[in-house]
């Protein structure tokens, strides 16, 4: 009873709460990092060094008036932010945060579950997440959001192909679809997959930028284009849900990249015995550090690079990323057969 039901429930509660708190503080982190890149300080008024800014943002969004456009499809209008948010949260069911530890006298695995198709589950959940954007544009019953949502979803499904192909080469090296097995494969090989599959690593990062509508691929939601994109007609808490869904997607992409390419909860250089003192640090701290590194690079890229135009974006996805990903899969397959 306890092991079958209570322990997973507790893990789910902890992971969800940590994710939601992390997502709200990502908002503050983004403003701070972009501010520092621009030689200014960012939010400093609310709380010491602006720490309480997300609380102020949340209160503001919650007390805003909730406007539904006239003749908008009411059910779909309400459901679209939820459909955008839920896939970002349920991916955490398969991500391993750490190795097995013994807590309170029982062996507790630091992941919620380990299914034998874990990586495909993540990809399929991400492909269902496209619906939130399409439905938001449709339900707003207004031209600009509809066009913007069609563009955004076309971008998402194009880069989904490239990302899935890079994941195929990782699966080839690891030999399994289960996320825990991929981390253990990195542990047994003694080297992170980022060094065995550098091209896949770079492609996954670029595809992840495009999948989460982050700069430089954030044309669908830029304010200068199409008056704000697919969430133009959303206000108050629903807009907050879209916003948070985007940050949650960012954290998800970072977590998945950490697990697949940076060794998950492993310490750096697990094959070098001289660095065994790094094992004092628990696995989940390494996981958090690596995820945070990825998130920082996401924000850094946003502060630095200009935006891609839509046709340049689609050209990059279809004509550059997909052929390179396919070539990577072929080369990985050949090398794996020869070795």
């Amino acid at each position: 009873m306890v092991d079958g039901f209570l322990v997973p429930l507790l893990k789910i509660v902890i992971v969800l709460n940590a994710t939601l708190v992390g997502v709200t503080y990502m908002v503050l982190l983004e403003r701070k990092v972009i501010a520092w890149a621009q030689s200014r300080l960012g939010p400093m008024r609310v709380g010491p060094y602006g720490i309480l800014q997300p609380v102020a943002d949340a209160v503001k969004l919650m007390i805003k008036e909730d406007i539904t456009p006239v003749r908008a499809d009411k059910w779909v209008f309400t459901a679209a932010p939820i459909i955008a948010m839920v896939p970002a949260l349920i991916v955490y069911a398969v991500i391993p945060f750490g190795p097995e530890v013994s807590l309170f006298g029982r062996q507790v695995t630091l992941y919620i579950t380990d299914i034998n198709v874990g990586l495909l589950y993540i990809v399929s959940v991400a492909s269902v997440g496209v619906y939130g954007i399409i439905l938001a544009g449709y339900a707003s019953n207004s031209k600009f959001p509809l066009l913007a949502s069609l563009r955004a979803s076309a971008q998402l499904i194009s880069y989904e192909v490239a990302v899935t192909l890079t994941l195929v080469s990782v699966i080839l090296v690891a030999g399994s679809l289960s996320m825990v097995s991929i981390v253990r494969a990195q542990e047994s090989m003694g080297v992170w997959f980022a060094f065995i599959q550098p091209i896949a690593f770079v492609l996954f990062f670029i595809g992840g930028l495009a999948e989460t509508n982050r700069a430089p691929f954030d044309l669908p939601e830029a304010e200068q284009e199409l008056t704000g994109g697919f969430h133009t007609e959303y206000s108050g808490m629903r807009f907050a849900l879209f916003f948070l869904a985007e940050y949650a997607n960012m954290i998800v992409v970072s977590s998945v990249a950490t697990t697949l390419f940076l060794g998950g909860y492993l310490a750096p250089f697990p094959n070098v015995d001289a660095l065994n003192f790094l094992d004092i640090v628990p696995g989940w701290i390494w996981f958090l550090l690596k995820t945070f590194l990825f998130l920082y690079v996401f924000l850094w890229v946003r502060a630095t690079l200009p935006r891609y135009r839509y046709d340049q974006l689609m050209r990059l996805g279809w004509k550059v990323l997909i052929p390179v990903a396919i070539a990577n899969v072929i080369v990985t397959g050949i090398v794996k057969v020869l070795l």
Binding site: D73, V76, I115, N116, V117, L120, Y121, V123, S124, V125, S127, V128, V130, Y131, I134, L135, Y138, L146, L150, S153, I157, S176, L177
Partner: protein, 171 residues
């Protein structure tokens, strides 16, 4: 016991959403009910320990094909529902009645007609299909059924080229 409850709940969802797909006035709502139907079918596959197929169902069907339908529905979004100019002599109840009769016949055949798997099934695989689902399917696809696999990929390539040519504005 738990399997029975799961089966009945998932079947109710599948059939309920399917009826909603064919009977809703608004096309967008029909597409959304189709997505929910496919997700329920994926849940049924998990119940049948076909985990790989369940994830493929969500990835390809719910996350690919239905997105395509949704795109086309939005590009073709008409103001008046198309059924408004059906022929007035069309009788909907006749269709329901005929469908009900055929369903009753099928149900009678299935329950009392002794339909089932032949007991001398040919060459059952090693029985770890549920545990090592991905490995078993992979071995079958790439070893025993490689030619259908290659033909299917050629089919998809031809369909992709064909769809692009058909939907282009100017050749």
């Amino acid at each position: 016991m738990g399997e029975a409850i799961a089966f009945y709940v998932i079947s109710a969802l599948i059939l309920g959403f399917a009826v909603l797909v064919v009977s809703t006035r608004s096309t967008v709502h029909a597409v959304l009910f189709l997505v929910l139907n496919f997700l329920a079918v994926a849940a049924l596959y998990v119940l049948l320990t076909a985990q790989f197929l369940a994830v493929i169902q969500v990835l390809v069907y719910a996350g690919g094909i239905v997105v395509l339908y949704l795109f086309v529905v939005m590009l073709v979004n008409l103001k008046r529902p198309p059924e408004d100019h059906s022929a007035p002599q069309r009788r909907g109840w006749l269709g329901f009645a005929l469908s009900g009769v055929v369903l009753a016949q099928l149900a009678a055949i299935l329950v009392w007609g002794g339909v089932g798997a032949a007991t001398d099934s040919s060459a059952a695989q090693s029985s770890d299909l549920a545990l090592n689902n991905v490995e078993r399917i992979g071995m079958l696809l790439y070893a025993d059924y490689l030619i259908p696999f290659e033909v299917a990929s050629m089919l998809l390539l031809v369909a992709m080229v064909g769809a692009i040519i058909l939907a282009k504005r100017e050749l």
